[in-house]
Symmetry: C2
Subunit: 211 residues, 2 copies
């Protein structure tokens, strides 16, 4: 009764360590796959097509939308971002848990379309620790850090929409916790409709036989 | 952020092995406690007050209801059944996961009152296996078994109201699965409202400081 992979969304504050968590999940367990988003924004230095994003133009993006080739998409700062359907479906059919690293708007669309999906919000142990991590990167101006923290305030408003909140304090512990949550998700009724239907029909067969 | 115990409901077909599972959970892990129901029905042979049930009379039961001493109660075949509040709250405060072995009506009442509670439905791997287990007991007439199977048809209609469905095929595997589900329940946002509120306020403090 438990073969298809789980569609999981990982969101969380910038600085919560999502990227590191995803890499660790992929390295530690062989049944995860990371979905790569499609975007119309220009690649930044060092970004590779098909790795960080699939880079494309507006026309191709809209064509993809019109043939239902994305499971969700959104417009942000004048650029499109979306999740290509084919890769997600192939990987799930192959039993992989597919990770979408997207923000709350996308997360809520996924939950609406795929009620059996799993939404996980990652947070550092405290806001102070979040600030410390952002400052430690040393790559950003105080203004950029302030913007990220202001953005985190907005993001924090959406936490209750997620199925789970996990604290990324120790990386290994957090990776294991996420893995356990994904495993648990296999036992929700909405992921076991075939099994439930079969046992119902079998039971009904018995009672009809007894009439 | 994770100290209070989980309130968990275990339901499932008669013959699914709930009793054995509960015993195994209590034996294997030291952070579980079994809630004992209060009832106005007469004790059956071998039943001990305070073990299978707290046996009481109608007047005392209704007094307990009127002082809000039960977290849920129902009337069934002319008798009252209810869950005493004090024991549940004490055990949860002490960090124990409290198991209620009750049926769907009670389970739904619990979920309504305690949204952070965890509802688990236990099923054998198939209806055929359920029938086999009921017959193997050798203690019941074919009519009694037929009634239990008819009752199972009704119960099966409620499975989607539960958070999780677990298959009791191998006892040890099933006990571990239930334990993992209970551990996972600690990470739902509704169980972490204090933590979420604190991080929100901290974040807001940062952005106000930056104005």
């Amino acid at each position: 009764m438990k073969s298809k992979g789980i569609l999981m969304v990982l969101s969380g504050f910038s600085g919560a360590g999502k990227g590191t968590l995803v890499k660790a999940l992929l390295r530690k367990y062989d049944n995860y796959a990371l979905s790569v988003s499609m975007t119309t924004r220009a690649p930044r230095e060092g970004e590779r097509d098909g790795v960080e994003y699939f880079f494309t133009d507006k026309q191709h993006f809209e064509e993809t939308v019109s043939r239902d080739g994305l499971i969700e998409y959104a417009s942000y700062c004048g650029n499109y971002y979306g999740t290509p359907r084919a890769y997600v479906e192939e990987q799930m059919a192959a039993g992989k848990n597919v990770i979408l690293e997207i923000e709350i708007q996308g997360a809520l669309k996924i939950k609406e379309k795929f009620p059996e999906s799993l939404l996980i919000f990652v947070t550092p142990p405290s806001a102070e620790e979040l600030r410390r991590r952002l400052e430690k990167r040393g790559t950003e101006s105080p203004e950029a850090i302030a913007r990220r923290l202001a953005r985190a305030v907005e993001e924090s408003e959406g936490i209750e929409s997620y199925d789970y909140i996990v604290v990324n304090d120790d990386l290994d512990t957090c990776v294991e916790e996420i893995h356990r949550l994904v495993e648990a998700a296999r036992s929700v009724p909405v992921r076991n409709t075939e099994f439930i239907e079969r046992i119902r029909q079998e039971l009904q067969g018995f009672t009809k036989g007894a009439d």
